[in-house]
């Protein structure tokens, strides 16, 4: 396990250009949040933002978007300093990004991809049982919600673009759970962390779904900084996040997030994703028509 050295300094010479984020706050830390967690708890987000503002001693601005790609684009266009993203786009854009922190759930900085089916479906135990069915992906840039099921099909020698009868994107793991619970899709792939969180906080939806199969573990959805962000800034965020488990208010927020805490994390956590990426390279996957 090679631990990636932290890149110090302003080599990236953060002379960033004009920021175009809406309502830019002067000196604010702009953090992009993609739907890798249950991101619709606005009251919670306000509290978390206050917490981070206190820890960073500067204003914090959360920026939320519908898809992972929009957050990644904002980050790469230097409109954001930080973002909570998925391991898949992290691996894809590793050169541009600096790992800040990795969430820890159930004691480990990892999560799984769950193959989810309606609770009424008792027979499905593998993705192979869903041939010709309607399948829900979360986001084309999601590891657990897109890359892994495609990789699995490829490794089983099934053509991913023709295996299912119909596929669609829900743009959030939570929506995938709802689509399956409603019977809209016969199956879907979701982030285990989101599903477990839903099961804990919104059992009425999760109860209508069943985990038919689970993937090996992958590095958890990372907090990243755009390269070029001064190291004292991202280190400050790293300290703020990893320090949450040490204060009562931080622990209360972690409880809401259904996380044990954040750790600095190692780049090597994402090797599994990198391998899958390589395996599906050149294979026609389902691509969003949008």
């Amino acid at each position: 396990m090679k631990r990636r050295e932290l890149l110090l300094g302003g080599a990236a010479a953060a002379a960033f250009g004009a920021l175009a984020s809406e309502k830019p706050e002067k000196g604010a830390a702009r953090i992009g949040l993609s739907p890798v967690f249950v991101d619709d708890q606005l009251a919670f987000l306000t509290n978390w933002r206050s917490y981070l503002e206190q820890a960073l001693e500067r204003p914090v601005q959360f920026v939320q978007r519908r898809s992972y790609r929009e957050i990644m684009d904002l980050l790469l266009e230097q409109r954001l300093e930080f973002a909570w993203i998925c391991g898949y786009p992290y691996v894809r854009n590793r050169a541009e990004l600096q790992l800040v922190a990795v969430p820890v759930s159930e004691g480990r900085p990892t999560y799984h991809s769950y193959l989810l089916v309606p609770a009424t479906d008792r027979g499905t135990n593998s993705i192979l049982d869903l041939r010709g069915k309607v399948f829900a992906f979360s986001d084309p840039d999601s590891n657990s919600g897109f890359l892994y099921p495609n990789y699995e099909l490829v490794s089983l020698a099934e053509p991913p673009d023709r295996f299912f009868g119909k596929t669609f994107f829900t743009w959030a793991h939570r929506n995938t759970v709802e689509a399956i619970a409603a019977g809209l899709a016969h199956g879907g792939a979701v982030d285990s962390y989101v599903w477990e969180t839903l099961r804990r906080y919104r059992p009425e939806t999760a109860a209508h779904t069943r985990v038919a199969a689970r993937s090996p573990e992958f590095g958890h959805t990372p907090f990243v900084a755009r390269r070029g962000v001064p190291s004292r800034d991202w280190l400050a965020l790293q300290r703020a996040l990893t320090g949450m488990r040490d204060s009562p208010s931080g622990r209360a927020l972690l409880e809401k997030l259904n996380l044990d805490g954040f750790v600095p994390g190692a780049d090597s956590l994402y090797e599994g994703i990198a391998r899958m990426m390589a395996a599906v390279k050149g294979v026609a996957l389902h691509a969003p028509t949008a």
């Binding site: 309607v134 829900a136 009868g165 119909k166 669609f168 994107f169 829900t170 743009w171 929506n175 689509a179 409603a182 019977g183 809209l184 899709a185 016969h186 028509t289 949008a290």
Partner: protein, 486 residues
């Protein structure tokens, strides 16, 4: 049926009123409900038309982008509030059909899975095809299939002239039921409230209408052998038909009563007249031999016969014959005797005559002589006889210390004589035969006093009426005065 017809108006009219009130309430309620139902349906068509147009417009982009989840969120937005209450305005189903008539999306994907033929889950869709096919222009169409509990609002999703798919919104007509039932309950309550007022009111009015009729019917039942007492005749006083009927009935009763009285009077007079004729005939037949016998005895006496036994026997016979003669002459009232016209003094003389008897009984005599100095053209002998007879009877009837009254006065075209006393009254059965000869209930007297009085009054063309009740008995005589002769 027959028994219903036989029912008394007392019940029949109120029952009709009640039935009318009920019918009215039912018809009003039913028409209200029908209007409400139609209104609900019209509202549904209007609101669903709006909803369908909004949804169809919003769905264009997600359909072009094949963004299933976005489209799903859009068609679920009418349900998003989490309102599961069965309101008729809440769609039961929203579905998008693709160009191949397959389900692209439905709000209840379990029943209508993606990519399947919706007709398999609901045969209504096989029939809906022709309506869906026919839609080439934007706009909504309401499709109602006979026998189906559903109502469909069909809207094509068209972008730039290209038909992307079809939006179908299904409504359950059953959803109307709770609303209609709720309305019906409300209407029923209102109906009951109205009936609570209408029923007693109609019952009351109907009773008021029926009661005069039933009263009249009951009173008519009283008319059988005898006429009802006027006090028992209850008649509704008004000018309406029932009132007229009652008045006519009353008039009829009055006529009947007068006729009855007249008949009684006629029978009475005829009986007395018959008795009079019989008495006169008998008297005449007896008087002739009687006169002969009395003459014979007289002659025999003149010839002188000393035999004491014969003399005593003859005088016994003579006394008996004389008594018969007296009785006969009393029976045979003869009013043809000439006498002078009645004067005030004649009446006063009569008073003097009866005063002795009154004093003997210590009775008070109220005497009222209404005649003036001019004589009245009536035979004084007869009038005095009538007056004496009535006065003596009255004095006889009173208890010692009682009161006897007499009033004589010309009244209209006749002379009125009213004799009253406060003695024991004459029972009804005696009243019937009061004026007949020998009908007296008394120990003394020959019982011809009133007979003679009646005969005299009758021969003078007058009337005599006896009325008697405890404490007051009166005889009223009216003697018509002859036409004024100067």
């Amino acid at each position: 049926m027959r028994r219903l017809r036989d029912l008394s108006f007392k019940y029949k009219i109120p029952l009709r009123g009640v039935v009318l009130a009920l019918l009215t309430a039912l018809i009003v309620t039913a028409s209200m409900l029908y209007r409400e139902y139609e209104g609900l349906k019209q509202d549904l068509v209007t609101t669903s038309g709006h909803l369908a147009r909004v949804l169809a417009n919003t769905l264009v982009t997600p359909l072009v982008h094949d963004d299933v989840w976005r489209a799903y969120e859009i068609i679920n937005s009418p349900f998003a509030a989490g309102v599961k209450e069965a309101s008729p305005q809440t769609a039961e189903l929203i579905m998008i059909l693709d160009a191949n008539r397959r389900v692209y999306l439905a709000t209840n994907p379990r029943q209508y899975p993606m990519l399947t033929d919706p007709g398999r889950a609901n045969p209504d869709f096989y029939e809906l095809w022709q309506d869906i096919e026919g839609l080439r222009q934007p706009g909504t169409r309401v499709v109602e299939r006979a026998g189906s509990p559903k109502l469909y609002v069909v809207t094509p999703i068209i972008a730039d002239g290209i038909r992307l798919g079809t939006l179908v919104i299904g409504y359950s007509k059953d959803a109307f039921a709770p609303r209609v039932i709720g309305l019906a309950k409300g209407a029923a309550l209102a109906m009951l409230a109205a009936l609570a007022i209408l029923l007693p009111a109609s019952w009351y009015w109907a009773r008021r209408f029926a009661l005069p009729l039933t009263d009249l019917a009951q009173t008519m039942h009283l008319v059988r052998e005898t006429l009802p007492d006027p006090a028992d005749v209850k008649v509704y006083e008004s000018r309406d038909e029932i009132g007229q009927l009652g008045a006519a009935f009353k008039a009829m009763l009055k006529g009947l009563r007068e006729k009855e009285a007249l008949e009684k009077e006629v029978v009475f007079s005829e009986r007395l007249a018959a008795i009079g004729r019989l008495a006169a005939g008998a008297a005449h037949e007896i008087n002739n031999p009687l006169g002969g016998m009395l003459n014979a005895i007289s002659t025999f006496k003149q010839h002188g016969n000393e035999d004491p036994l014969t003399v005593r026997t003859l005088s016994l016979i003579e006394r008996g014959l004389l008594q018969i003669k007296d009785t006969m002459s009393a029976l045979l009232v003869e009013a043809k005797v000439k006498s002078h016209p009645l004067s005030r003094q004649d009446v006063e003389d009569t008073r003097t005559l009866v005063l002795a008897d009154a004093h003997r009984k210590a009775a008070t005599l109220d005497w009222e002589n209404g005649l003036d100095e001019r004589p009245v053209a009536l035979p004084s002998t007869h009038v005095r006889q009538v007056l004496i007879n009535l006065m003596l009877n009255a004095i006889e009837a009173v208890e010692p210390g009682g009161r006897v009254g007499c009033r004589i006065a010309p009244e209209g075209g006749s002379l009125a004589i009213v004799v009253t006393n406060d003695g024991g009254y004459i029972p009804q059965e005696r009243m019937e035969v009061l004026f007949e000869p020998f009908a007296t209930g008394r120990e003394s007297g020959h019982g011809l006093g009133l007979w003679v009085t009646w005969q005299l009054v009758h021969q003078l063309g007058g009337t005599i009426i006896a009325q008697s009740e405890p404490g007051n008995t009166s005889f009223t005589v009216a003697l018509p005065l002859p036409e004024e002769t100067p």
